[in-house]
Amino acid sequence: MKTLINKALHRKLAMRLAMVGFIISIVFGLIVLLIESKKVGEVVLDRALQAAIHFNAEAGALLDKPGLPDHDQIQCVLDTFVTRGLKLRNSHYNKVGRSVIINILDLNRNEVAKYIDLDYENINAFETQMHTSNLPRHHNNKDWYELKWIKGFPFVLYGVPLTNSIGKTVAHAEGVFAVTAESLTDVRSSALNAALIIIAIVLVTTGLLYPVIIKQMNNLKSAQLQLIHAEKLESIGRLAAGVAHEVKNPLAVIQLGIDYLSQTQKGNKDVTETVVDMDDAVKRADTVIKGLLEFSRPTKLEIKTMNVNEVLEESLLLVKYELSKNNITLDKQLKNGLPDIKLDRNKMKQVFINLFMNAIHAMDKDGTLTVNTCSNQLPKDLYNNYCKKVKHFKVGDRVVIVTIEDTGIGIPEGSIDKLFEPFFTTKPTGIGTGLGLSVTKSIIELHQAIINIMNRKAGGASVSILFKTKLGDDHA
């Protein structure tokens, strides 16, 4: 169920991320198009300037004749200019534009000649634009250009001084210059290309970012859960000392009461049996308190270098009676020549005994307890599965592995994640306190080791403990 929920959450996140990426890319694309479209005028102006310079050079040559020609002659020259200029522009400047109006003015700003492209409607509108233009016009004998959008199309208003071959200004040309569809398309298509490239980049980046974001979210979630868990355990620890004191006093009263009754009511069978039950109950309660105090107390280890097989053998000896009482076969597979590791003997015996007893309780009667030890270099898959979240281990570390397996009932799937939580137990009431594995894990972690519990495919459970053969500086 958890997997399905995770998958649904991932799908939802993926869709949201895709939507955000799509919107960002469209916005960026539109911004690029807007910027590029403004450049249309600049590009056209630039090309118009180039065309006008060339036009001017041609006109200058024709104006070398002494004195200005009369109106008709200028008109004729202008026609020639336009024809040659158009050809020039078309051939050299990739059909940048087309003259709509060209006025030739003398130095006193009298109109000398005019060219009008009658294919354009609203010529008057163009002339009005020319006259209402705000740019300074040939006051200093320089070119001027102004981009105008008329009915959604770009036009260039311009003015150029016409100079003869020795560079003397002899007249002025002013006019309106229409940007051809080809050049407009050319500029717009480059803008569109840029927009599409940006859209593609954003979408690809969004797609690439998705697994990274998911990983970071999972890491954050994991860190939050660990923090909550640590805070929970810390609260339990703080509570434990107070609870222990508050419970032990009443227990002490009850214990003395039991002792008093057992002395004074010796002849009364019912009282005697009752007192026995009460005595057991007090012991059980005291055991829980003991476990709680152990759990809450920071433990200092007494570390010595030793062979883990020795500790296992000593621990097995202590549960020998329980094994035989329940007719459980012991399969010992303790490898010789294991590297020594640093352990607190008593604490590790406590751990092993706790794990053996859990296995025995899981098997009830008959069954096999397998205890295996080996030494390996930590392979990548084992590291990824168990050690990745723990800073002490890295791939290739030499580790000693203790595995304890039983052929019992196994662990309910939903309980595996809770096994190390304080007071969590799968045993019947009265058997165990639910603190054994919590304390076990604390001791394991103090040894900078890792413990993992899982169900065996063949049935029963398997507990693996990985010990580093070399402890870091910060072990307790």
């Binding site: 000392a241 222990a244 004191h245 032990k248 006093n249 009443p250 227990l251 002490a252 009263v253 009850i254 214990q255 003395l256 009461g257 002792d259 008093y260 002395q263 004074t264 007090v282 005291d286 003991k290 105090l293």
Partner: protein, 125 residues
């Protein structure tokens, strides 16, 4: 044989009552209860016990402070003190009392038999 006098100082009245009942039932001990920790020294001075059973965690005063007052008194400094306390565990001490840092401790809950053995060991010295 005169009964040995034992002073029990613990804020838990039901516990001191149980201790008195159990110890007096043996016929060997006369027991005085004191449930206000800060009165422990004054009661000891007045009762002149042969031995003191002293709780550590009390609301008004620490058992160690009471022990210090008693040990500063010339008349009482030879009286053996056993700390009967909930803040240690049975596994940290012997059932019949352990010497930790020069003081004797018994862990609660304590069985009567273990308590009497401890008392007799102390009084027998």
């Amino acid at each position: 044989m005169p009964k040995k006098k034992i002073l029990v100082v613990d804020d838990e009245a039901s516990l001191t009552r149980m201790l008195r009942r159990n110890l007096e039932a043996t016929g060997k001990y006369e027991v005085k209860e004191e449930n206000v920790g800060s009165q422990g020294y004054a009661t000891a001075k007045q009762f002149q016990p042969d031995m003191i059973l002293l709780d550590i965690m009390m609301p008004d005063i620490d058992g160690g402070a009471v022990a210090a007052q008693i040990q500063d008194d010339e008349q009482l400094k030879q009286v053996p003190i056993v700390f009967l306390t909930a803040i240690i565990q049975k596994e940290e001490v012997d059932d019949t009392g352990s010497n930790i840092g020069g003081s004797t401790f018994l862990a609660k809950p304590v069985k009567l038999g273990d308590l009497i053995t401890c008392i007799e060991n102390k009084l027998g010295r």
